[in-house]
Amino acid sequence: MRIIFKTSYLQDIKLLKHNGYIFWYGVLLFALLIAPAVLGEFYIGEMAFIFIYAIAGLGLMILVGFTGLPSLGHAAFMAIGAYANAYFLHKGVPFLISIFLAGLISFGVGALITVPLRRMTGIYFAIASLAFAIIVEEIIAHWKSVTGGLGGMSVDNPVIFGFELDSTWHFYFLCLAILLAVLYCTLNLIRSPSGRAFIAIRDSEISAESMGINLSIYKIKSFAISGCFTGLAGALFAHRLSFLTPDAFNFLLSIQLLMMVVVGGLGTVHGAIFGAIFVGLLPQVIAIAKDYLPPAIGQFPGLEPGLFGIIMVLFIIFEPMGLYGRWVKFKLFFDMFPLYRKATFKRQKTYLKTERVQ
């Protein structure tokens, strides 16, 4: 196993901790760059979809995983980003400005909605964010002049400097570029004072406050940037859907986003990416599995959400650290071989952690 000897403070704040990282992430990036040349159009499209999920996942991870505020309403930001982007494109705004505005509006809405939500924690926050998403969905359904209401609205292809992005691989690179930018910003945030303040709020509000962290301000920052990233994902999602209706952004999408970060592994950047891959691939896997299952089960209506639910339950009970947690264990097993002990990650059984005063 590799032991890193730190000889300067700079090593603490570098993004790529050692040469192994540079090599493997370089390989990954190279593979992603040549993928459109190697893989078929269907797979490229699906990968672009996973990138969109990953962008939204990073946004949600900042809020849920790092600041500890469980949002059940992030579909609202997807919707705001998607509709804003589609609306500005219709008005003839160039794509780059339009998607920027979509992110900006989501940022603003995120900041505004935190004002009533900032004193809430835990379940109150979750339910209030859920209510927020439902209100946004209703507004979209009734604001016909902008959103087309229940009838929906079409989305124009993005055009960058006169060059129309109309094929799948154009879209693939667009999503990849935005994902990389969002990833970079997220990593920066985590290693800077703001990110540390988020983590402090997550782990203990009371002591964060006693260390001089203004809870309201940092919650607003966290929600705003989370909304912004999710809004960017929504703007891209609009192009993927190419026709927007309010019910594409319902409660189930919020849940799917939340499940994504939980399955991936809360509180890690890797987790958002792993979760996106998982949620993106799951429908394909289920579709393939359907063919091999006996027809009585394969044709079972509601098989997909049901299986989704079962997988989630198993994850929550047996692997609360998510896919990333599993990956860390897997790596450690080989690093330590043959010394790995199962108990390394054994969780201490806790009694009910109460939030109430006894």
Binding site: Y9, L10, D12, I13, C185, N188, L189, R191, S192, P193, S194, G195, R196, A197, I199, A200, R202, D203, S204, I206, S207, A208, E209, S210, M211, G212, I213, N214, L215, K221, I225, G267
Partner: protein
């Protein structure tokens, strides 16, 4: 100049007066200890000073400034840092990160410079680490620097929490039961550290503590309270021999 002064502070919780007309002064450069049986209102006084609770009556003065209505997150800016009775560290972060959060008030970056990690943020981060490293050396925490809090033994967590408070470079340190849960050796170490904090760093301390050995070893002044009222006030020796205090701890009609 008044360094620290609590004037006739009282607080009600749903009709119960948890702290009743308590006044005390803390002189700069001294260690002031509050003792009293469980439920006497000691931690409540700490929570009042760090502005978690709102006072019902009275005032709190720190360096001639009335801090009675200050927002909780601004208390540390004035130079008052605290630790908690049951340890409130950031469990899923490393020791280094916890200490860095202790330096939060010295972070002068904007949200957007953080987002892009501009060179100014990088310089600031390096500077923060240099300062934190002083505290790590002072408390001998080198070995634990990159460990997660949740993997540390209780005694070490207590020290990390002390370290986090020191990172804010306070003028006044509030220690809520620094020795609770520590064994004899660790308590001994803690008493040396508290002494060092006073003598080497020149920080004044208000402490809540049950361990009378520790109290008489380090305190300059002791305040005994019970049922939210002041019982006695004086040097450790005076308070320990005060008949009211003995009665409060041991009950009536007992020969000591």
């Amino acid at each position: 100049m008044t360094f620290f002064k609590a004037e006739n502070i009282s607080i009600d919780f749903g009709g119960i007066r948890a702290v009743n007309d308590v006044s005390f002064d803390v002189e700069k450069g001294t260690i002031f200890t509050i003792v009293g049986p469980n439920g006497a209102g000691k931690t409540t006084i700490f929570n009042i000073i760090s502005r978690i609770y709102n006072l019902t009556e009275g005032r709190i003065i720190f360096e001639d400034k009335d801090i009675t209505r200050l927002p909780a997150h601004q208390v540390v800016n004035l130079g008052i840092a605290r630790t908690f009775q049951n340890i409130e560290l950031f469990e899923h972060a490393t020791v280094l990160h916890n200490l860095l959060i202790g330096r939060h008030i010295y972070c002068r970056s904007t949200f957007f410079s953080d987002l892009f990690f501009l060179p100014s943020v990088k310089r600031m981060e390096l500077e923060l680490r240099r300062k934190v490293e002083d505290v790590i050396d002072f408390l001998d925490l080198q070995h634990y620097r990159n460990q997660l809090i949740q993997n540390l033994p209780y005694g070490v967590r207590k020290i990390v929490e002390l370290g986090r408070a020191l990172c804010t470079e306070p003028k006044l340190l509030l220690l809520d039961e620094p020795a609770s849960g520590l064994n004899v050796d660790e308590t001994e170490n803690m008493s040396f550290w508290i002494d060092d904090i006073k003598k080497l760093l020149g920080i004044s301390v208000i402490m809540v503590e049950h361990n009378m050995n520790l109290v008489s070893q380090v305190s300059d002044h002791v305040l005994a309270i019970n049922y939210g009222r002041v019982l006695a006030d004086g040097t450790p020796k005076e308070v320990q021999t005060n008949p009211d205090v003995i009665k409060a701890y041991l009950g009536e009609d007992k020969d000591v």
